[in-house]
Amino acid sequence: MATHTEQLTRPAVRLRGLTRSFDDRTVLDAIDLDLPAGQFTALLGHSGSGKSTLLRAVAGLDHEVAGSGRLTAPETVSVVFQDSRLLPWRRVLANVLLGIEGNEAAHRARAALAEVGLAGREEAWPSELSGGEAQRAALARSLVREPELLLADEPFGALDALTRIRMHVLLRELWERHRPSVLLVTHDVDEAIVLADRVLVLDQGRIGLDLTIDRPHPRSYRDPLLGEYRERLLTALGVTEDHK
């Protein structure tokens, strides 16, 4: 993605010496990280390595965590959670509108729902949606605010494999169109490789590997040239040959 280099010079997120700990256990250990504006970054790591902790810190959600360091993040940040987190007592459109106001808000919300393929389901209750549809509604809710930074914590973790692939395509398309900076937390190496232009591996509280994936989109899981990246990421995650 060399064409975007000029655009990537202004960092959207800047972390300097970010440290976070729970009762003497240091989960994030003096992390330095820049996320350029408009970059699609994936964050990999073992379970318990602190991915969610990092994401919550950037989202400004950790009120009770002891920590230090400097953190700069954009004004408008959206978060997509692992569960769709739709309010069960609001219809889909009202859920997308949560927290935004104004005359053309409803119009924008309808457009966002159409973008994720949910046109016509505006008046459905969340309980009437399938898991994938609910997650798409959650995506619409985060997009309608036109965020500069989109944070996603294993947004597809609860979906089946086929739905997940569809969601990958959708997320990438949405990113192409709106160009927010994306930080996608996942433990799925293939998901990271197919979607992101840069993959970080969090290990022992630090960024253990920072890998730029220089392959054109759309990428296929079957692309043999991606195998090399997969190999390096698995090694960084400590998965050796006899584990596979």
């Binding site: 989202a59 400004g60 959600l61 940040v77 959206s78 978060v79 959670f81 569960d83 987190r85 309010l87 069960p88 007592w89 609001r90 949560l98 927290g99 209750w125 969340p126 309980s127 009437e128 809710r141 605010r145």
Partner: protein, 294 residues
């Protein structure tokens, strides 16, 4: 029909599903290679099933009365009760007593409901409110409210005020307890969502806390409705000079079991109508909920 897949769930298909399955069960018995799971839910409701029991009891009562198997002084015939009811209604005594009773129960209920909701909001939405209110209410709850009657008569005299006060207390406790529990139990994931979406404190309360607490509130409301009738009956039968309970109390002195039965029927209608009304409102307001009973 040949697949063992469970019936599709969701949408309007839900309502018809048990009906469509009924012939399937017979088919399965003929072709044992297609196994179907044993159904654990009781299946489709019989039409007008709620009425079957009461109608049967009424029929038995009428038959036994007609056959002279019941002592008319103890259990008068259904038509005697009806006649007495019509007589009391036309000469105006019943209407006056009903209105008196309704006013008592209604005022007590309204005050109790308002107090319960207001206290629950104050305790649920601020730490200071919780410290002040919650412990106090829990203490109040430990004292059976009807046990307060002698004290309240001393304080407020034996008029209407004390009756309304007792009913209000009976009502506010379940309303407070259930509403407060629901407010305090709001899902922390929704709190996080509200922060992410940048809701203001007021928006958070109005759009997330209050709707999330409504199911709990309705549980309290129904308990409160039941409580208000219970309080009414007790109060009117011991310390009243008018009202439905007083009518029944006097009938007891004169041995008029038919009048007592008329009173009981009216109490029953009160309870039934108010409970149905609450249910109706609940179904409207909580239409987003899909539970086993719907």
């Amino acid at each position: 029909m040949t697949t063992g897949a469970p019936p599709a769930v969701g949408g309007a298909a839900d309502i018809d599903a048990p009906d469509l399955n009924a012939p399937d069960i017979a088919a399965v018995e003929e072709t044992p290679q297609v196994r179907r799971r044993r159904r654990l839910s009781p299946g489709k409701r019989l039409p007008a099933s709620r009425l079957v029991g009461p109608v049967l009891v009424l029929a038995l009562w009428a038959v036994a009365s007609a056959a002279g198997r019941l002592d008319p002084a103890a259990v008068p015939a259904p038509w005697t009760v009806l006649e007495t009811g019509v007589r009391l209604w036309t000469d105006g005594t019943l209407t006056t007593d009903i209105l008196t009773s309704l006013r008592r129960a209604g005022s007590g209920f309204a005050i109790g409901l308002t107090a319960g909701v207001a206290l629950a909001l104050a305790a649920g939405l601020s730490r200071a409110g919780e410290a002040l209110i919650d412990g106090t209410v829990q203490l109040n709850r430990a004292i059976p409210t009807l046990g307060l009657i002698p004290l309240f008569i001393l304080w407020l005299g034996i008029g209407e005020t004390f009756k309304i006060a007792i009913i209000a207390i009976v009502v506010y406790i379940p309303v407070y307890l259930n509403t407060h529990a629901a407010l305090a139990g709001i899902d922390s994931r929704f709190v996080e969502l509200a922060e992410v979406q940048g809701l203001s404190g007021f928006q958070f309360v109005r759009q997330i806390v209050v709707p999330g607490a409504l199911p709990g509130f309705f549980v309290g409301l129904r308990l409160g409705v039941t409580g208000s009738w219970l309080g009414l009956v007790v109060l009117e039968q011991i310390n009243a000079t008018n009202g439905l309970g007083y009518l029944m109390f006097q009938a007891q002195n004169y041995g008029q079991s038919d009048v007592i039965l008329v009173g009981l029927v009216v109490y029953g209608v009160f309870g039934l109508v108010s409970d149905s009304a609450v249910r109706l409102v609940e179904r409207r307001v909580l239409s987003w909920r899909r539970t086993l009973s719907s």
